[in-house]
Symmetry: C2
Subunit: 587 residues, 2 copies
């Protein structure tokens, strides 16, 4: 199938068969918002469930899932740096009033790289190049920063600002301490969340690929930077390969990805921390489960100026698509201790973890106190307040100030060296405080849905087939009476009723020829059709038809549920379920 | 267990074992927002999955699930009536600036019924009674209406207002036409959605029970009012009983619910439409599945003044709780054609459904046109615009106005009877347009989570046990090596690794005595523990211990997964899985 063709057919099936369509259609739509129809919603649920199985259920010792609110008070995003940094440069047309994302407009119209430039630089480029409004040709104004957080007010009090979260991550950071506690102080520990996030994009244009609101699946993986505890996991995957385009390669204009074993990537420092490499590899396996071949998955490192403010290293996980080229379906960020440190600072809560040492170590700390003997009597009534304040100050800062200036001022009183006693105390300690470091794999589920559809699409004898991996197929089984005969229909309905009570999503179709019904089922990716025919009435067998090979086998009704489960969940070949009935499709 | 005790213990386990806790704790919390911890998130997922199985997978011919955005443009909520009607009366203290919900304050402090009263009436009650601020004693201001929609701005354009949806329903209404189409024009059809909603409550105070943000599970069930197509479904449940407190009973101060068969409730008009009765009954069965006995479920009808603006009849589905008395866990609203009609009117889109008639019927319609013969020449240049306007008006409205006033005014021109030709046209039609009516069952998942925990809690020999229905238990299996013996631990780990790859959520615990570990598993409701002991090493059997009876049976490892599945999903007794090993718990 030609490339453009492929994408068009996905969009066509998407709309015609009810996978997805633009939201608010009857009101003219709003860019960046999509509905998922019945099959799209099922597909997304199955992708989410596959993610959960892959990352959480398979690693119950490492990862737990929580759920935190979407609406979040301002304090959290001030601490996280999003109020200051979660911004895009915007420029408005002075004539028609339309807004554009300034860096993108420059890149598109002038072919100049503009990501990461300051508003002054962008304004300068626009005015020097004479770039004008692409819609009306009017003059463009000054570039300014637009914050992408959706803002609201919580409760009746003005000034009680809240935001719609742009990532689920902050929920994991601010609840880290409590989760760590209920999980009996495990470290490393990953805290996952699957939920809605929203980003107020200036002018989203890529359909399902760039949404203002979507479902994120991400986890924050907390570990002790000095003892990551990753060895036993890394050992299993040491020789597995990742396809990387590093920041260095990008600077040297090398566009072809290079294959690194995990061992090489870690030893060469290409990936900065072992857990990041481990989860990047697991993320590759996950994409394979939803139908993307490994050859079409690449990790591209962000350049420092492209990275989010919290990140020490980021790899975008890219997948090749027909419509949009290589698109990011996941981001892998090494957030260091940025978030926990910031929340510690802004909330005043201790977000460190106590770590038991194998053997005691000496810890030297400075202690500062007042030398009451030399303090004048006139200070007596201020003594308490001065003492309090000195206690609350960092001894290191205080000493440095004293060394620099020769005095410090506390409660309006000038204290010099001899008013204070500064001592170094040496203790033996068996536990220390650790602020865990964090790596974060983060997936957008709607992009995965689109990607799964593109990779599933096949054309066979002029028919479209969505060959989803069976586990993620929206509908698992279609029950079809061969002909409109009372007994056959009766048996078909009984089988249908039986299957409805199982975990298998099932549909029933009795309209049109059997060929048409197979085609209809193929088009939405139903892995197996159960057909009830005349023979069924005499020997209790039915046919199972495989969506991909179009082969049919006969199975006894008593073994039906078990056979379907094996086919869907254990991925066995259709031939293993029973004798071949026939293997040519009759239209 | 004493009632208060019970609730306290739920809250204690909730926090201590990580089911739920107030969100944003490190920043002092924000009323109305909760986090779900690892076990709470799993419990909620299982309740949602049970809901999906019960209402959607069991009725694939009737109900489909979709997903629409949380952020919604203003137009939608103007049309739906929420911008005007989704309000609570609020009153502020002139001294301390605090706000209160006016009707609740009056009911609490004065013992007067105030729900549904106008702001003027409420202000009057406050000033006449001399009611003052309950916090500082200051004077209260005038009562005004506060809109409970969280407001935001979509994109960079001021005035492009959006709201965080307070119900998922509008997504189903505005996409009804498209879903109806992709589902091959089925009617009746239910469109379900499970997703986040938010209501900016003035001062929420009941923990997990009254949240500003929560996950709704609801469906809009569309049917032809004249041919609901419910008979085959109602027939199956005609003699089943519902426990009702009707509006009439409430007016007569009858507080004890009365038992009605569905047949009686429909024949007596107590429930206004059959589908509502059907789904109320199914909702009772659903609550039983999550552990609420039928005797503790009551449907209370709302009085007209208590109903939402869109509703023709509403029943709250109440469940008895220890902490909060009878609480609403679901609402059942008969929304009529309100929503589709409003969206039709505001969007201009035809949201009706074509219905094929069994035999043609005569349809009489009024047609109005200008009588050009008697129109003065001076109107000639206005003719087109007058004609356009008359076309766009409803002929019935126009005729009524003409009959009442003797003239109508169009484009500033006064037209009387003889300027217009009004004719009745008779046609034979075989299809008609139907605006479907809607009943809506709507559940709050966090309340169900709380209710499930309260109903699951047991105390036995001084230990707390969460006896969840097995399907909804957060963790399904705990794997425990009896003692710290290398071979036993090795076998336990192999079993654990095997179970991780299944659909069963599994945990591993090797810390402390076996009794402690059983207790720890019971407390979070793990239905079954798998213990590996010395005998396991010789004959390959392990023990399965039932959370509720504390009985143990021996099962061979080869049959383990199958046995666990039967125990969890098919709800068999533990004795059916193998020979009793012992049935007394040793601490």
């Amino acid at each position: 199938m030609a490339i453009d063709d492929l994408a068009d057919k996905v969009l066509d099936i998407g709309r015609r068969r009810g996978f997805f369509w633009p939201a608010f259609e009857i009101y003219g739509g709003v860019a960046g918002f999509y509905d998922l129809g019945p099959y799209g919603a099922l597909l997304k649920q199955n992708i989410i469930e596959e993610w959960r199985r892959h990352f959480i259920k398979r690693y119950p010792d490492l990862i737990v899932e929580i759920e935190t609110p979407v609406i979040t008070p301002e304090k959290v995003f001030i601490a996280s740096g999003h109020v200051e940094n979660f911004v895009d440069p915007i420029v408005g047309c002075k004539k028609c009033g339309r807004f554009f994302r300034a860096d993108q407009l420059i890149e598109e119209k002038l072919g100049v790289k503009a990501e990461g430039k300051s508003v002054e630089e962008l304004t300068d480029i626009i005015s020097k190049s004479g770039l004008r409004c692409p819609v009306c040709g009017g003059e463009l104004g000054e570039v300014r920063l637009f914050n992408l957080l959706f803002r609201t007010q919580i409760g009746p009090y003005q000034g009680s600002v809240g935001f719609f979260r742009p990532e689920a991550a902050q929920g994991m950071f601010i609840s880290f301490k409590r989760v760590h506690q209920v999980m009996r102080n495990k470290l490393p520990i990953g805290i996952a969340q699957i939920g809605r996030v929203a980003r107020n994009e200036i002018s989203p244009r890529q359909g399902l690929i760039r949404l203002r609101e979507f479902t994120i699946m991400e986890f924050e993986f907390f570990f002790d930077q000095n003892e990551p505890g990753a060895d036993e996991y890394i050992d299993k995957v040491r020789n597995e390969k990742l396809s990387l385009i590093t920041a260095d390669m990008r600077r040297e204009k090398i566009e072809e990805p290079q294959s690194f074993t995990i061992d090489e990537a870690l030893r060469q420092g290409v990936i900065k921390t072992p857990w990041m490499a481990f989860w990047m590899y697991e993320s590759t396996l996950f994409l394979e489960k939803i139908g993307v071949p490994r050859t079409n998955i690449v990790f591209e490192e962000k350049l420092p100026e492209e990275r989010a403010h919290y990140s020490r290293q980021t790899f975008d996980q890219l997948v090749k698509t027909a419509r949009w080229g290589w698109i990011e379906v996941a981001g892998h960020a090494y957030r260091g201790d940025y978030d926990l440190s910031r929340h510690k600072q802004f909330s005043g809560e201790d977000l460190t973890v106590r770590k038991q040492l194998r053997e005691p170590v000496e810890r030297r700390t400075l202690v500062v106190r007042l030398n009451k003997a030399v303090l004048g009597r006139e200070l007596k009534d201020k003594l308490d307040s001065i003492q309090q304040q000195i206690k609350s100050m960092s001894p290191e800062v205080l000493k440095r100030e004293l060394d620099n200036k020769g005095f410090i001022e506390v409660s309006g009183v000038r204290l010099s060296r001899n008013h204070l006693v500064i001592e170094e105390v040496v203790e033996k300690v068996v536990t220390i405080s650790v602020t865990p470091h964090v790596v974060e794999p983060s997936f957008g589920s709607e992009r995965l849905l689109y990607v799964a559809m593109e990779y599933a699409l096949r054309e066979k004898q002029g028919r479209l087939i969505l060959s989803f991996p069976r586990r993620i197929a929206p509908v698992k089984v279609a029950v079809l009476p061969l002909v409109d005969n009372e007994k056959i229909v009766g048996m078909a309905k009984r089988i249908y009723d039986m299957l409805k009570e199982t975990d298998l999503m099932v549909t029933y179709d009795d309209s049109g020829s059997i060929g048409r019904r197979y085609a209809r089922a193929d088009e939405i990716g139903v892995p197996v059709c159960v057909t009830i025919d005349y023979q069924s009435l005499t020997d209790g067998t039915v046919t199972l038809r495989d969506r991909d090979s179009w082969k049919q086998v006969r199975v006894h009704v008593d073994k039906l549920v078990e056979s379907l489960r094996r086919f869907i969940y254990d991925n066995v070949e259709i031939e293993e379920l029973g004798p071949i009935f026939f293997s040519e499709e009759k239209e």
